[in-house]
């Protein structure tokens, strides 16, 4: 029996009873919570009209609690750094990770992917474009774009990238640096770190909203690059 499909020990009834009791206790405690309590959410609803944003979730993510969003990107970069360290510095074969399939299926798959991938790109652009006003945003758009890139590798349209490839690194860290820079500019202009400043721009969609949309576009690129690199993972080492 290989390590992949090893047997698991049977869970003893005591453990099962314990986990059941845990779920029950948690459910009971949840039932004691008040029927509505969201002063923070109400504060968002009161303050959002001043920003011209239509999507309150974007307001929270990129304005009121933008530090969390910045740190969340730092968490992604931490994981990416870990994958790069694991990949090591030695060169590795550009082994295709495309799905194993017969030649004619391969041809069909790449033909289909070549047609659908532009549509995926359009969806990603749409998601980031509407994010300020309706459900959508940088993470959703970046995820869709990354999925498109992963499909392109799986059907053999693209070679598997190194997690530390310069293009991926520039997209991942460049967008992140831009985001940090906006927060630092806010510290200078508005006197508070991570105050999203109203940038001076030749075009204007209404103060802070412009800044948020620009940050979201940058983050979409960054998220797409990071998730793509993470999904590709540490490529197999030579000689094993």
């Amino acid at each position: 029996m290989s390590a992949i499909d090893q047997a698991e020990p049977r869970t003893s009834p005591w453990w099962l009873a314990g986990f059941g009791a845990l779920a029950l206790a948690l459910g009971l405690v949840l039932s004691t919570l008040p029927e509505a309590a969201h002063p923070a959410g109400d504060a968002v609803a009161q303050n959002l009209p001043a920003t011209d944003l239509g999507n309150p979730v974007t307001g929270v993510l990129l304005l009121y609690r933008v530090l969390d969003t910045l740190l969340e990107k730092a968490a992604l970069l931490g994981a990416l750094g870990g994958v790069v360290v694991l990949a090591g510095r030695q060169s590795f074969a550009r082994r295709a990770v495309s799905l194993p399939m017969p030649a004619h299926s391969q041809a069909t798959a790449s033909w289909l992917a070549a047609i659908l991938l532009p549509a995926v790109l359009v969806i990603a652009v749409y998601l980031v474009a509407i994010g300020a006003d309706r459900p959508g945003g940088a993470f959703q758009a970046g995820t869709v774009a990354a999925a498109g890139l992963i499909v392109a590798v799986l059907v053999g349209l693209r070679p598997q990238p190194q997690p530390a490839a310069p293009s991926l690194r520039v997209a991942a860290y460049g967008s992140f640096l831009g985001f940090v820079a906006v927060g630092l500019v806010g510290a200078v202009t508005d006197g508070a770190f991570m105050a999203m400043p109203s940038l001076w721009l030749p075009f204007d969609l209404g103060g802070v909203k412009t800044t948020i949309i620009l940050v979201e576009i940058a983050l979409t690129l960054g998220v797409a690059a990071i998730l793509f690199a993470l999904a590709m993972g540490a490529p197999p080492r030579l000689g094993r």
Binding site: G41, P56, G59, G82
Partner: protein
């Protein structure tokens, strides 16, 4: 019973299932899945809490859950990358070997 409580209780059940997988399973992939089920349960509870009361849903937990999902993705990706390397180095997919006191 309120609808939100039904969703929240489902989240509680997911938390228990996830902890079960994480603590009692040995296969690393199952443990990583357990971690994700646990996370899903916590996120479900947050979203259920957002749906309480009348009027529009509370946007704050929705934003928190997006952040939480990104963090969970980062953790999962790193866990899987380490698991692949660990399997390459040792040929094993569990960490309950004899010399792990």
């Amino acid at each position: 019973m309120s609808t939100w409580l039904l969703y929240a209780s489902s989240g509680a059940l997911l938390v228990a299932i996830g902890l079960h997988g994480l603590i009692l399973r040995r296969h690393l992939i199952r443990r990583i899945l357990g971690l994700n089920v646990l996370g899903g349960g916590v996120f479900a509870i947050f979203l259920a809490l957002a749906a309480r009361g009348d009027g529009p849903a509370d946007p704050l937990p929705h934003a928190l859950v997006i952040t939480g999902i990104v963090v969970a993705v980062a953790g999962t990706a790193l866990a899987l990358a380490i698991t692949v390397r660990y399997f390459e180095a040792t040929g094993r997919l569990d960490i309950d070997g004899p010399d792990n006191r």
